[in-house]
């Protein structure tokens, strides 16, 4: 669904240019749940902005459903297919009431009134915030605002939703509510999710994880593959689960740990066998 071919990008601010992405290739198939993990400044948000044509690669190409982001006229069809949720819940709400905000996209597509109401109601129901539809947006919690933003994206019938650090300003409750919604959309609607985050707990449930460090992808694979590569995770400034860290530390002491795992129960079992 998304093909990224050896892309490069540098921010051109005077007097210097800062290289943000240097040579990334990846392929995201339909219906996958992807996590992109990396420190602040690792280039992950730059990558996200290139995926929905907010910025264009200096070199290399990105194809979204076969459409090259560089070609004129492709921006709008691409953004209709790839919705983006940003970090700050207050920076992406355009309506005063929840209904108005979610209707903004469909209105701009020129739908007739009946269809707008239908699309908006469906989106609100799918996200589980239909009861909030008459509320003024400023009275909502951060987690609720992010779900309104997702409903707004959903009303555009996207094939993929990118979350760019969307949970980082939310408390644990807001975080888990938002993640539950993305998992539901992924499983039930087949919408691909690309979650860009530095929170490892969010990456544990992904189908595939990519780790970004200094503008390149340094690790990729299943969550278990990625998190058990402790040296590379530390190098990228990221955390691994305590279960994995404990096994890794024991291994460094010369203890024979056969399999590093991210699973708490498996870790307890393999330590238990040594006692």
């Amino acid at each position: 669904m998304i093909e990224v071919k050896d892309i490069h990008y540098a921010y051109k601010t005077q007097p210097e240019t800062t290289k943000a992405v240097s040579g990334i290739s990846l392929s995201i198939s339909k219906g996958r749940y992807i996590a992109i993990l990396g420190r602040n400044g690792s280039g992950k948000s730059t990558l996200a902005r290139m995926l929905n044509a907010l910025i264009l690669p200096d070199m290399g190409d990105i194809l979204v459903l076969g459409m090259n982001t560089k070609e004129k006229g492709n921006e709008l069809p691409i953004r209709k297919k790839i919705g983006m949720i940003f970090q700050d819940p207050d920076n992406q709400i355009v309506g005063t009431r929840v209904l108005e905000d979610v209707a903004f996209g469909p209105e701009n597509l020129g739908y007739e009134r009946k269809k707008i109401i239908q699309v908006v109601d469906n989106a609100l129901n799918q996200i589980g915030i239909y009861d909030l539809r008459e509320r003024a947006v400023h009275t909502l919690s951060g987690g609720q605002k992010q779900r309104v933003a997702i409903a707004g994206v959903l009303a555009m019938k996207p094939a993929c939703i990118i979350l760019d650090e969307s949970t980082s300003m939310l408390d644990p409750k807001g975080q888990s509510e938002l993640l539950a919604v993305t998992e539901k959309l992924n499983k039930e609607e087949g919408i691909s999710i690309i979650n860009i985050t530095h929170n490892m707990d969010e990456a544990k449930f992904a189908d595939e994880v990519y780790v970004m460090h200094k503008g390149t992808i340094t690790l990729s694979g299943t969550p278990n593959d990625v998190f058990t590569n402790v040296d590379k995770m530390i190098e990228a400034g990221l955390d691994v689960p305590q279960a994995t860290k404990l096994l890794y530390e024991l291994e460094k002491e010369g203890i024979n740990i056969k399999n590093l795992t991210i699973d708490e129960n498996e870790a307890a079992e393999s330590i238990g066998r040594l006692l």
């Binding site: 409750k173 689960p241 860290k245 708490e264 307890a268 238990g272 040594l274």
Partner: protein
């Protein structure tokens, strides 16, 4: 708590607070809280969303005033109008998203701002800004930069420097790790630890990560629906998994592993909260 050798620095007596009092939206956030904090303690306040954590710490420097009861800081009532300046200097409060509150042209000016407001003479200001910047790991280059050009972690340090430059005796932080990546979080907690150790700063913080709380805090207070439901050492609080879980909280993952192991290996100590302690305990019992 070790009361000998330590002085009471903050005392909350029967403190209640309701948001939007006398309106249909009234929400009771604190419900008859009684707590004493002593000098040089390192306390973490935990609790589920809406349990009253942020409301509680905003009472500690008089930003919020209790509806009932009183808050005493070094014996001075926070309701005392004449003491507000003194209070804000003694208790440095760092908000959850302090990194979004920087406003000056340069980081240097942002840190200096509080000193100017407090009429600190110019010749002393420079040294204090430079010393504080060094303490939190900001370079000269960072100081000359606009706050907007800093990374998230650097912004947070700049915001904390703006508080530390006033030399607070008590540092109160609302979820200091919010918005920081793991490396940034580790760096920040090391800075706080150094302040606590070297400057004998009393630290009170709200945190969501049980791993961080377990690693740094000596005392843990658990809030639930505006009430203090647990208050004790790490062992006392994390030892009570059932109660924590019922409150929507958790224990560190490594503690859960040790508890599982203890079922089949009763000789193990499961009062373990950090990876390095778990490693030591397992190495002691491993078959050679």
């Amino acid at each position: 708590m070790n009361v000998e050798n330590s002085n009471k620095v903050i005392s909350l007596k029967n403190v209640s607070y309701t948001y939007a009092r006398n309106t249909p939206f009234a929400k009771k956030a604190l419900d008859y809280i009684n707590l004493d904090f002593y000098s040089n303690e390192y306390t973490a306040i935990i609790g589920a969303t809406g349990s009253g954590k942020s409301t509680l710490i905003q009472h500690m420097n008089g930003l919020l005033k209790p509806d009932t009861g009183e808050v005493l800081v070094n014996g001075i009532d926070t309701k005392d109008k004449k003491s507000q300046r003194d209070l804000r200097r003694k208790v440095g409060l760092v908000f959850q998203y302090a990194q979004y509150q920087l406003f000056e042209e340069t980081v240097y000016k942002d840190i200096e701002f509080g000193l100017i407001k407090r009429n600190v003479p110019e010749d002393q200001r420079k040294q204090r800004v430079l010393d504080t910047a060094k303490m939190v790991g900001l370079t000269q280059e960072n100081l000359n930069a606009s706050p907007y050009d800093l990374s998230g972690g650097q912004k947070k340090r700049a915001a904390i420097a703006g508080i530390l430059v006033l030399k607070p005796e008590i540092l109160v932080l609302d979820e200091p790790a919010a918005g920081l990546d793991p490396e940034g979080t580790r760096e920040l907690f090391t800075i706080i630890q150094n302040l606590h150790n070297d400057k004998e700063c009393t630290v009170i913080l709200v945190a969501h990560s049980m791993e961080l709380v377990a690693q740094y805090a000596k005392r843990i207070i658990v809030l639930h629906e505006g009430k203090v439901v647990m208050d004790g050492t790490r062992d006392e609080v994390f030892g009570n998994v059932e109660q924590l879980t019922s409150l929507g909280l958790d224990v560190p993952e490594v503690t859960k592993i040790m508890m599982k192991l203890k079922i089949s290996h009763p000789e193990l100590n499961d009062r373990i909260y950090t990876v390095s302690d778990a490693k030591e305990e397992i190495l002691k019992h491993i078959k050679k």
